[in-house]
Symmetry: C2
Subunit: 205 residues, 2 copies
């Protein structure tokens, strides 16, 4: 429960998702406007896509071209800094996901700071966030100890933690990025965030 | 060109698509607000989905449940009359598509009236719009001759006309429903119609 006594808003995302990045730039504002804590929950969307039978938009015929166009157009509309990441894309988000939960169990705010740095590294600076060295560097820039972070990334307990989070997200019907759940109501897509805003303002419809 | 001297807005849709139906209830208002003629272009989205490798949302694991929820929630938000159609769904939209173009070549306004009746028949009254008898009845209610409509549905020239329209849509990068193109700019989804509105208002970004 937040200070307002209202339940939290959950924000599910994959670190390799451009629309998840856009959501990350806006979700805390929406939560704050309505007195809702926001719980950030990165997960491995690829595990959900195996179940739904989905391929990444940017790898699908016809849709890829549109998706690239829409992603850059959306960034301009929302005035969010964005540079299309270099290949390979999409990339594995396991390492930053593991680091996130390791950090989050110690300091949720530091974990959120780290998550923002991961997204900026990928979608502004074009770095390869799937690499352990890059993840360690980003965690260190958020204030974590580099050696401890590196050890955590290889720790079975940390690996299990991420698996549980991903399984838990899927068990709750989460399959996309971003994906929001608030008051039991699911919303899929960055383009549903305005709807979340309206839902919380009006109490739903 | 419309009376305003501005290029038209094209509205691509499949008669079996709930989000296409929602778009059909709103697209003319958006066009009118910006002095744009709206060209309605039903097509067989299934042909595009064979290329993109997509399955209907309501047939995909996990996504189906969300899609049903989002569709009814969207109808309530937009205050559009909607009843989830009975099985089988989605259904083949070949017959109403053929009738549409046969009508459109004679009387575009009558064709649009017919299209609205098709959508209402499926998404309000739960009728099977894939059946020739139903399509003939709907065309007749829009003012067309029943026997001529029935004959047209079996006419090779009418069949070819629809194939050309579908091929043409795909050649222009159309793969979804609804899908809008205005001033060369593509927008996919009912949830992009507000963005089209803003694009036309501001001149783009």
């Amino acid at each position: 429960m937040s200070a307002s006594g209202k339940g939290p808003m959950e924000f599910f995302f994959d670190f390799s998702s451009p629309y998840g990045y856009f959501g990350s730039c806006r979700v805390d504002d929406v939560g704050q406007r309505h007195g809702r804590d926001v719980i950030w929950r990165p997960y491995l969307m690829g595990a959900a896509m195996k179940i739904t039978g989905s391929e990444p938009l940017v790898q699908r015929k016809m849709i890829a071209e549109y998706a690239h166009h829409d992603i850059t157009r959306t960034a301009r509309r929302l005035r969010i800094a964005f540079n299309p990441p270099p290949p390979p894309f999409p990339i594995a988000s396991i390492a930053p996901c593991r680091a996130f939960y390791w950090l989050a169990d110690r300091d949720p705010l530091q974990a959120r700071d780290f998550a923002r740095r991961v997204y900026a590294a990928l979608f502004i600076d074009g770095h390869n966030i799937s690499e352990v060295d890059m993840v360690v560097e980003l965690a260190a820039s958020a204030g974590a100890d580099a050696d401890e972070t590196r050890a955590a990334l290889a720790d079975q307990a940390v690996k299990d933690r991420l698996r549980q989070e991903t399984d838990g997200a899927i068990a709750r019907g989460v399959f996309g990025s971003p994906f929001f759940i608030v008051d039991g109501e699911p919303f899929w897509g960055n383009d549903r965030l305005d709807e979340v805003d309206k839902w919380l303002e009006t109490g739903g419809w």
